[in-house]
């Protein structure tokens, strides 16, 4: 049985299981816990920025630690584990195989994430999630920064093991009667992102080793006094982390492809264009890393190449959006919570995409670089699009995991507070960035406009916080007391739900 909570088992059975749904459940619970913790840190940051001067935190160093742990948590302990959780649940079901290809490796990958998370949260580093030298090599306090480095190394290795498992499961364990071009686009999304993970992460792994040896003083890779170059770290870092943006985004796109046709009661408008857009985006993702570094003194030719490489992602992203809209056109759309979150995510996706075009356009980058505009832009993408689609997909999987239905009314409360809050907070951040407010600061100029915009942003953040309380109530209360779901078609959309009666025993 795939249903995990309807028939309770001893906790140790789940903890030490290598079955794909058990490992998936652990990934999902871990990611949601860290989403809430990271969100609490975000609210702390927004409360501190509610007024100029000291509001709550009272210490610039503590503020730096809070936003470092917030950023690291949201990226590596919310988004990545959630993707692994959904992939673990559904990939074996969607490719019609009994489990992941390497069940033990799968459990090892999850359990590596736990010490990685512990190192980040116990270390409480102040380097920011990018850990640029020279600060991270010369000034950042140990052992916090060292724990951060080791935490990320372990998480990176865990991601690589997970990626290998997904690739082998999809390519080698797929049912022979199921052609690749008939699989769900979510399978393509996970396959493409797993391949990107394998190609991108080793560079950052090397960069972390170099960063650590620089901190120990045994090398000077990023130290100009010893013949090194701090900019080299940025190249290594962004070579991994610009593709990583697509590693965060593409699974969400795949989940949207899973939900939109079902809730529109129509087949996907163009399956082939979805596959092509996934493949092309996975290549373009590697052609645009230095757009994060346009202000670091690259030559005009280099900057132009990376600007054009970045803009090449626009048509592919548009292909996905038009595909979704064409799928919905002429359908009979049911606006249950999963569909609401996906539509909200698409609306905010366009906003964040437009901001991204501005960021990569050479002269405009110098206006927005290192301002709150950039913070608004990437949060609009990661919270507004990726997290929205993730939350919608969690509602869709809720009956599969629990055997119960969530409260649509509370899910509605969650959606509207989160949607309005997200639009308010990150739009205000874009505007305050244009007024020149730099990012990663604890205090700001007491200008009336900047104060007002920060207060609007903080109010938006509190609205999201209220929505998240509703989300938590739904998850906990309805997992225990929700109405039993009609497992053949829990959403009443006339679609066959996932195969919830699989016979493979837990192991």
């Amino acid at each position: 049985m795939v249903i995990e909570i309807a028939k309770p088992r001893p906790l140790w059975q789940i903890l030490f299981s290598t079955h794909h749904t058990d490992v998936a459940l652990l990934y999902l619970i871990t990611s949601i816990v860290f989403f809430m913790l990271g969100g609490a840190l975000a609210l702390t940051i927004r409360t501190e920025l509610l007024t100029p001067g000291t509001t709550m935190i009272g210490d610039a160093d503590l503020f730096n630690r809070i936003f470092t742990v917030h950023g690291t948590t949201m990226l590596f302990l919310w988004i990545l584990p959630f993707i692994s959780g959904v992939g673990n649940y559904l990939i074996p079901i969607l490719v019609k195989y009994k489990d992941m290809a390497y069940p033990r490796l799968n459990a090892v990958a999850y359990w590596m994430a736990v010490p990685g998370a512990a190192l980040i949260w116990l270390g409480w580093s102040d380097t920011s999630w990018m850990a640029y030298p020279p600060y991270s090599t010369m000034r950042a306090a140990g052992p916090a920064a060292d724990m951060w480095i080791f935490g990320l190394k372990i998480l990176g290795l865990s991601s690589i093991l997970g990626a290998i498992n997904f690739i082998v499961t999809i390519l080698k364990c797929k049912h022979p009667d199921l052609p690749m071009m008939k699989t769900s686009l979510l399978v393509w999304a996970i396959l493409v992102t797993s391949m990107m993970t394998l190609a991108a992460l080793p560079t950052f792994t090397a960069a972390l080793i170099m960063l650590y040896t620089d901190r120990l003083g045994v090398s000077g890779f990023f130290d100009p006094a010893r013949g090194g170059d701090p900019i080299a770290y940025q190249h290594l870092f962004w070579f991994t982390f610009h593709p990583e943006v697509y590693i965060f985004l593409l699974p969400a796109v795949g989940m949207a492809y899973e939900l939109i046709p079902k809730f529109s009661r129509k087949p996907i408008f163009s399956y082939g264009s979805g596959v092509i857009a996934f493949l092309v985006l996975s290549i373009i993702g590697f052609a645009s890393w230095a757009h994060h570094m346009l202000a670091t003194g690259l030559t005009f030719t280099e900057k132009t190449v990376f600007m054009v490489g970045t803009l090449a992602a626009v048509p592919m992203s548009a292909m996905h959006v038009f595909n979704w809209m064409a799928t919905m056109w002429g359908g009979r759309i049911k606006f249950a919570a999963p569909m609401k979150f996906v539509i909200g995510g698409i609306m905010l996706f366009f906003t964040s995409g437009a901001g991204g075009v501005v960021n990569t356009t050479l002269p405009l980058d110098f206006i927005t670089h290192d301002t709150y505009w950039v913070v608004g832009h990437f949060h609009m993408m990661l919270m507004g699009t990726v997290s929205f689609i993730f939350m919608g997909f969690l509602y869709y999987m809720f009956p599969l995991i629990t055997g119960r239905m969530y409260s649509e009314r509370l899910a509605n409360v969650h959606f509207w507070f989160a949607f309005i809050g997200t639009a308010v907070v990150f739009t205000a951040m874009h505007i305050v960035g244009l007024y020149g407010m730099p990012r990663r600061i604890w205090d700001y100029v007491p200008d009336p406009t900047i104060i007002a915009l920060n207060q609007i942003a903080s109010i938006g953040a509190y609205l999201i916080g209220i929505g998240m309380i509703a989300f938590l109530i739904v998850l906990i209360r309805d997992s225990i007391k929700g109405k039993p779901a009609d497992m053949r078609d829990p959403f009443g959309i006339g679609e066959i739900y996932y195969d919830y009666r699989r016979r493979e025993p837990h192991h």
Partner: protein
């Protein structure tokens, strides 16, 4: 073939116009900041127009094709 010829001719004329314009342009002091902000406003205008169209269509789809407005048809369900 005829369309291609027209396209090539159009591109050639546009290139000539811009080249002549550059050659005979008056020398002027360039305020890079003003140029950048001008470009920013132009791009934001374009982005808002495109965004309004795309999001407008999305909102139209949401209201036009929502479950309550469209009768159930056997052929739409797979």
């Amino acid at each position: 073939m005829r369309n291609l010829s027209i396209l090539v001719a159009a591109v050639a004329v546009l290139t000539m116009f811009s080249t002549v314009g550059m050659v005979y342009a008056q020398e002027e002091v360039v305020d890079r900041s003003a140029l950048a902000w001008g470009l920013f406003y132009k791009m934001m205008t374009a982005a808002f127009i495109v965004g309004a169209i795309v999001q407008g269509i999305l909102v139209y789809i949401i209201f036009k094709f929502k479950e309550k407005k469209v009768k159930a048809r056997a052929e739409v369900s797979r």
